[in-house]
């Protein structure tokens, strides 16, 4: 049982002794740059070859760093974003989507995140105000400008979400009360409709009446 293990350990050592490993270009450059910075330029010419032992050490360091990065990445992948971070990012409007959703009359009501093998994060927005014709026109113009400036897949998804909200704001038969945006693991939007039969409601608890 020990023989195969020994062979497995010996093979890379023998290979390293026979020929120094070919390092990735980025690592080679980093090692060279570090050497140059450590010694005066006059003493160490830039072209000076590194000993294979130095290279072996740098490979070992690279492997160690890579493995720790991979573990960290795996850990991050399994952890959902912090709900407070998500809420803060939405309030800061770090994506055009958040600004547009707010202008469409929706307010962030809660953020849910879940830890697990497939973590999840979801933001829920509730209808806070009806749109006027001018609000809709302004939003349509913003969407047109957004389309001119960003034709990417995510931007298209954002615009489609907004178009659904805009259509809902004009409908005489229903109202979109709630929109849930799943951010993680895959982007997704869910809309909750309420049939209104054309009646206007004051569901958003108006603060004050018309003048």
């Amino acid at each position: 049982m020990r023989a195969p293990l020994l062979v497995m350990l010996m093979v890379p050592v023998l290979l390293l002794l026979a020929a120094p490993p070919a390092l990735p270009e980025s690592i080679r450059l980093r090692v060279q740059a570090a050497s140059v910075a450590a010694a005066p330029p006059a003493d160490v010419p830039p072209e000076a070859p590194l000993s294979w032992m130095a290279e072996l050490e740098s490979v070992a360091g690279w492997l160690r760093r890579s493995s720790s990065t991979a573990v960290a990445w795996l850990g991050n992948a399994l952890s959902p974003p912090n709900p407070e971070d998500v809420a803060r990012r939405i309030e800061r409007k770090d994506s055009e989507l958040w600004a547009l959703i707010e202008d469409a009359g929706y307010r962030l009501s809660n953020v849910e995140t879940a830890l697990g093998f497939i973590p999840s994060a979801k933001a829920t927005f509730r209808l806070a105000r009806e749109l006027s014709a001018v609000d809709r026109e302004q939003l349509e113009e913003r969407l047109e400008r957004y389309a001119e400036s960003d034709g990417g897949l995510a931007a298209r998804l954002h615009r489609e979400i907004l178009r659904i909200l805009l259509d809902g704001s004009e409908s005489g038969t229903h109202r979109i009360d709630k929109v849930e945006i799943s951010l993680w693991p895959l982007p997704r939007a869910e809309f909750s409709l309420t049939l209104t039969d054309g009646e206007k409601t004051e569901a958003g608890a108006p603060v004050s009446a018309a003048p």
């Binding site: 806070a128 105000r129 009806e130 749109l131 006027s132 014709a133 001018v134 609000d135 809709r136 026109e137 302004q138 349509e140 113009e141 400008r145 178009r163 805009l166 259509d167 004009e170 409908s171 206007k200 004051e202 569901a203 958003g204 608890a205 108006p206 603060v207 004050s208 009446a209 018309a210 003048p211």
Partner: protein
């Protein structure tokens, strides 16, 4: 006998010719066109009809005044003599409105942008330049202002009361009445934009209440309504420094350097800033035509001369730099856009939303 045969042949020929004439004779259910337009666009529609009337004999068209939303509802109500043939509106038909059109059988609609409408805030030339924002204009003109989660009457007397960076000059804004192009641009693009993001306004659920909060002017004489842009400029001349007039862009151009244009949200009016939609007091204007009401190849249709009106409205004589829309105060579309519209109209390309 021979005579009788010749007569019979002549009779048959005559009736055939008459039948052929009947078939080729164009037929419309209505001789007159039924058009709808808000007050702000009545002059433009009038200019189109006048120009078309110089080439064709038109039955006096029925031009019905209606606000944009109401005009679109009527237009999208269906096909047939009782429905309008064309609407002139101050914004695009929305997706929901167009869906209603399609549900009612109005599937083929040609959308034509006829140019940009713009208004300008001017003040006397000798007054120090004023750079205003939409919010400052709202705070100068609104009847009530948000304060501590409520609303209080607006008591600002000078521009400096509105914002410490503005001069200590009396607030006085002269504009034309509600429904006019300049006034609706002031209300929609400045007052609503200036108040939309204030927390107290955002907290109001009902759209009507929110809009009323934004556009209801103070009643203490700081906002003065006059009948015409010329009257607005005359009153500006007679007013103390600090007075501002809101007039159509064309009117401002006609006065040359006599008045000073005020920058709004950092933008001064120019052909470029208006076309790029960066200048706030501007918007595109549209004509919508029902293809189903135009006469088909056999000459049958709901209304006479509808296609001719559309062709006229996309021609350089209408939308070009020297066209009648430009003469009526519109900023012309870019040349490439005008060509694209002409092609779309010629091919009756239906709008998509």
């Amino acid at each position: 006998m021979r005579c009788r045969a010749a007569f019979a042949v002549a009779l048959i020929l005559q009736s055939s010719i008459a039948m052929a004439a009947d078939v080729s004779e164009p037929f419309s259910i209505r001789k007159q066109m039924h058009l709808m337009a808000p007050q702000a666009m009545a002059e433009l529609v009038g200019a189109s009809l006048t120009h078309l009337g110089t080439r064709l004999t038109l039955a006096p068209p029925q031009v019905e005044p209606a606000e944009t939303a109401a005009a679109i509802v009527h237009f999208c109500g269906g096909l047939g003599a009782e429905h309008s043939d064309m609407v002139a509106v101050t914004r695009r038909i929305s997706r929901a409105e167009f869906r209603r059109c399609v549900e009612n059988g109005v599937t083929d609609v040609v959308e034509i942008a006829i140019g940009y409408d713009a208004a300008v805030l001017v003040t006397k030339a000798e007054v120090p330049p004023m750079l205003l924002t939409s919010e400052q204009i709202f705070r100068a003109l609104a009847r009530d202002l948000p304060s501590n989660n409520g609303f209080v009457p607006n008591v600002a007397k000078t521009w400096n009361d509105v914002d410490r960076t503005l001069p200590s000059l009396d607030i006085r804004v002269v504009t034309t009445g509600r429904g006019t192009a300049a006034r609706s641009l002031l209300e929609d693009k400045v007052l609503q934009a200036g108040c939309r993001n204030l927390p107290e306004i955002r907290a109001i659920y009902a759209a009507d209440s929110r809009v009323a909060r934004c556009v209801t002017p103070r009643g203490d004489g700081r906002l003065v309504e006059v009948a015409t842009p010329e009257a607005a400029l005359a009153l500006l001349d007679a007013s103390p420094p600090g007075a501002v007039a809101v007039i159509p862009q064309q009117q401002a151009e006609m006065t040359g350097q006599r008045y000073q244009r005020i920058s709004v949200d950092g933008m001064l009016p120019s052909g470029e800033s208006i076309r790029s939609r960066e200048y706030p007091l501007s918007r595109r204007l549209y004509y919508y035509f029902k293809v189903g009401h135009m006469r088909d190849r056999k000459g049958y249709g709901v209304a006479s001369n509808l296609r001719e009106l559309m062709d006229d409205a996309v021609g350089e004589a209408a939308v070009g730099p020297d066209g009648y829309f430009t003469a009526a105060g519109l900023v012309p579309l870019e040349e490439g856009e005008r060509t694209r519209q002409r092609r779309a109209a010629a091919a009756l390309v239906p709008m998509e939303r």
